[in-house]
C-alpha cells in the first residue's frame, strides 16, 4: 500500500485493505483512542492545503480546514469561484495548475462529475475530491465507515437501513458500494416509490424497500437494522399527496429499533430528524461529523507521506 502522493478521487479506487488502513490511521487522531494529549500540529508544518470550492459546502470545507490546520498546515484557496481569475476567462485547468504551484495538496469541490479527476490529471500534487456533484465524495464515505467501525468494532455482518432519497443521493450510492467490499452486509434502501436507487449503483447485497413513508417505523421494526442512515427526501421531485413522502424520525422511532441501533445522517438535516432525538445516546450524527476530522487528518497526513 502506498499513499504518499496519491489522489483520493473515488471510494472505489481503494481496496478493502486500503480502506481499513485509512480507518486505522484515523484512530490516531481520535481522542477516543489516543489518550495522550500530544498534539498533531508538527505532522505537516510548513505544508499548504489549497481548498478550491467551486460551490459552497460549509461542513466539508470547515472540516478540511480544521483538519489541515490541526496537523500544522497553512490553508489557501477560495469558496467563491466568482472571486477567481476564471471570470477573466481562465480555464479550469489553468486555475488548477496555478494553485498546484502554490500548494502541497489540493482539495476540490465542484458541481460537475469527474471534475476532481480532471484536476488530478493536471496537478502534480495530490488531489482530494471533496465532492464532485452527484458523483463522489470519498471522505464522506470514509467517515461513514469509520463511524460504523468505531461503534461496532467491525464492518461486516451488519444490516443498514438507508432511509430517504436513494436515487439522487451520492452518499447512499457510495456507502452501499463500500459496505459491499466487506462480507455479510445487507443494505435496505428505504424510499418512496420513484426514488429507488438506480440499477447501476445496486450491489448484490442491496434490497429496495419501497414504502409509503408514513409506514417507516413499522418497516424498520421488521428489518431490525444495526444502522439507520437517514437523508433528505427532496420534495421538489415528488407529486400528489406529499404526506406519503414525509417522514420524520424522532425519539418515538427508537422504540421500533433494536437497542444497539445507531442513527446516522450526513447533515445538514431539515425535517428528517426531530431535534428531540438529538440527546439520545444512539443518535450519533454530530459525532459522525466530528469523525470526519480524524479521517481528513489521516488522509492529508498519508498523501503527504507524513505517516
Amino acid at each position: 500500500m502506498k499513499f504518499k502522493g496519491r489522489d483520493v478521487i473515488d471510494i472505489n479506487d481503494f481496496s478493502k485493505e486500503e480502506l481499513l488502513y485509512i480507518l486505522k490511521t484515523a484512530k490516531k487522531f481520535d481522542p477516543a483512542f489516543v489518550k495522550s494529549k500530544k498534539s498533531n500540529y508538527t505532522i505537516a508544518q510548513g505544508k499548504i492545503a489549497a481548498l478550491l470550492f467551486f460551490e459552497p459546502s460549509t461542513r466539508t470545507e470547515q472540516s478540511f480546514k480544521s483538519a489541515a490546520q490541526k496537523i500544522g498546515m497553512g490553508i489557501i484557496g477560495f469558496d467563491d469561484p466568482e472571486a477567481t481569475s476564471m471570470h477573466k476567462g481562465e480555464t479550469f485547468e489553468d486555475t488548477i495548475r496555478i494553485m498546484d504551484a502554490y500548494a502541497d495538496v489540493l482539495i476540490i469541490r465542484h458541481p460537475e462529475p469527474f471534475s476532481a479527476k480532471r484536476a488530478a490529471d493536471v496537478a502534480q500534487i495530490p488531489v482530494l475530491n471533496a465532492g464532485d456533484g452527484p458523483n463522489q465524495h470519498p471522505t464522506q464515505t470514509m467517515l461513514d465507515l469509520y463511524t460504523i467501525l468505531k461503534t461496532f468494532g467491525k464492518l461486516d455482518k451488519l444490516k443498514i437501513a438507508m432511509v430517504g432519497n436513494q436515487k439522487h443521493y451520492r452518499t447512499m450510492h457510495a456507502l452501499s458500494a463500500a459496505m459491499f467490499k466487506f462480507s455479510g452486509n445487507k443494505i435496505y434502501g428505504i424510499s418512496p416509490k420513484g426514488l429507488e436507487m438506480p440499477a447501476e449503483f445496486k450491489t448484490k447485497n442491496y434490497e429496495d424497500v419501497t414504502i409509503d413513508m408514513r409506514k417507516l417505523n413499522q418497516t424498520l421494526a421488521e428489518i431490525k437494522p444495526d444502522v439507520v442512515y437517514a437523508g433528505r427526501i427532496p420534495k421538489e421531485y415528488m407529486k400528489g399527496d406529499i404526506s406519503k413522502y414525509t417522514y420524520q424520525m424522532s425519539i418515538k422511532t427508537m422504540e421500533f429499533l433494536p437497542k444497539h441501533c445507531i442513527i446516522m445522517h450526513p447533515l445538514p438535516r431539515i425535517d428528517e430528524i426531530d431535534p428531540n432525538l438529538d440527546t439520545h445516546p444512539n443518535a450519533i450524527y454530530f459525532a459522525q461529523a466530528r469523525n470526519g476530522l480524524y479521517i481528513r487528518e489521516a488522509l492529508l497526513s498519508l498523501v503527504l507521506g507524513r505517516i
Copy 2:
C-alpha cells in the same frame, strides 16, 4: 477563579476580581509590559478557533483572528452567513453544533440579543461573545478597561465623560456598568436630548449631562474628566436643527481638558474626531484597538486552560 472551559457572554458575569485577573493576564501579551521577545505561538498550537460572524464586523473579526493565530491556533468559520448551510434551512443550533464538532473554541457575532447565550447552551466548547446586537460585546468592554488601567495604573477614582449616543450604544452601557464594580468612579453621560441612557442601564455613579452638542467643549471644561470616551451620534434618530447634535472633537478640544485626559473611541469613527487630533499623544484610540489583541489572546488562552 476558574476560566478553563468557561463561556464569555456578558461582562456582568465576571466579578471585579475575575476582571482584574483577565487584565493582568493580558499584560503578558502586551509588549509594553513584556520585554522578552519570546513569541506566544506555542500556547495553543493545534487548537482551532471557529469564528461565526453572522454579521460583518471588520475590527472584531480581524482582531480575534490575529489573536488566535498569535497564540498558535488555526482558524475556521465564516463571515457571510449566506455561505453557510443555514440557507438550506439548517437551524442556528445545528450550525453551532457542527462547528462545535470541528473546533476548540467558538467566537460568535450575531445581530440578535442573547444569540451568544443560545450558542453556549448547545456548544460543548467555550463560546466567546463577539457582539450580540444591542446587548453585549464583553471583549470590547475588557479592552476599554485594559486601556484605562494601562494609562492610569488603576480603575478607581476616575471621572469618565462618555460623549455621544448613550441610548443605543452597548459600549457605553457596558463600560459604565463595569466601572461601577470599582470604587469612586463617576460617569458623565453627555448626549443631546433624547439620547440619554435608558434607566435600566444606569448605575448610581452615572450622571446624565444633556446638552446642545455645540457646547461640548465648555461642558468638558467643567467636568474635568480623566477619560473622554467618544462615540457616534446617530443622526438618523435626530430631528430639526441637526447642528445641535453635531460635535467633532479636535486638537482644539484638548485645550479644554486636563493635561492627563485621554481620548478613547471604539472605532470606526466618522466625524466625531477630527483626524488632526490623531497625532496628539493623548489620542489613544488606535492603541486602544491594539489592546484588544492582548485581551483576546489572554481570554483564548484562559478558556483553553493554557495559562
Copy 3:
C-alpha cells in the same frame, strides 16, 4: 543594505545590489537550490500578515498567503472591501491604521495608483505593494527577474522580446526598467500599432517593434531573443480588422526561436498561448508563478528582520 522594517512599494526604489540580494535570498526558499528538506515555518511564527485586497487578484493573493504561512505567519485581512468598515464611511487611512494595529506586515492591493504609498505613509509596520492599479507590482517584477536569473545564471547581456500590450501593461513597464539596471540588455517591445510603450517608460535599451501580429513568428525569428515575455492584447482598445491584433504563440512558435529561448507570461493567459505549448520544457510560465512564492517568502522574511 537594510531591509528590516522597509516598505516595498516601487521596483525603482531598489538598487541593482538590493535586487540581487533579494533574488539571492529567494534561492534559500527554492527547492531547486536547497536540497535540505528543512521547512521554513520557524522563520516568522507568531507574526501576522494582513492582506488588504481592495480588488480581487487570485494568484497574487494566494501566493502571498502561501508564502506567509510557509514561513509560519498567520494571516488576516479581506479580499472584498465591501466587507470592511469602509462601507460605514471609514477612511482608507483609518482602515490601514486599524490593520496596522493587528498585524506585523501589510500586503495591499488597490486599483488606484500610489495607494500603497499612501498606506505606507500611515502604517508603522512594513507595507508590501501587491499591485496599485496601472502603477507598480514590484513582487511580480522581482519574480520575473528571479525566473530569468534562475534560467540563465545572469541578468545581463540578454535579449527580451516583450509581446503584447506595451502601452497599458505595468508588468512590461516595470520589467523593462528593471532590466535596464543591468548592463547589456536589449528589450524589444513587440506590439500592434497604437499599443506602443509610452515615452515616459522607455529606457535607452528599449526598442519599439510595431507589427501586424500575424507576422509575430517571423519577427521573433529575426530578433533571436533569449526570453519571450508574452501578455494579453486588449481587444477592447483595438478597432477595424481584429485579426491584425490577434496572435497566439503555440508549439509552432518554438521553431522560430533559439533553442534556449524561454516563454514567460504573468498569467492568467487567455488566447495568447495555445495550451499545446504548455508541455514544452521552455514554456516556464507556471514555474514562473511558483517562483513568486520564493520571492514573497524572502521579502516577508527580510522586512520582518528574520533573515
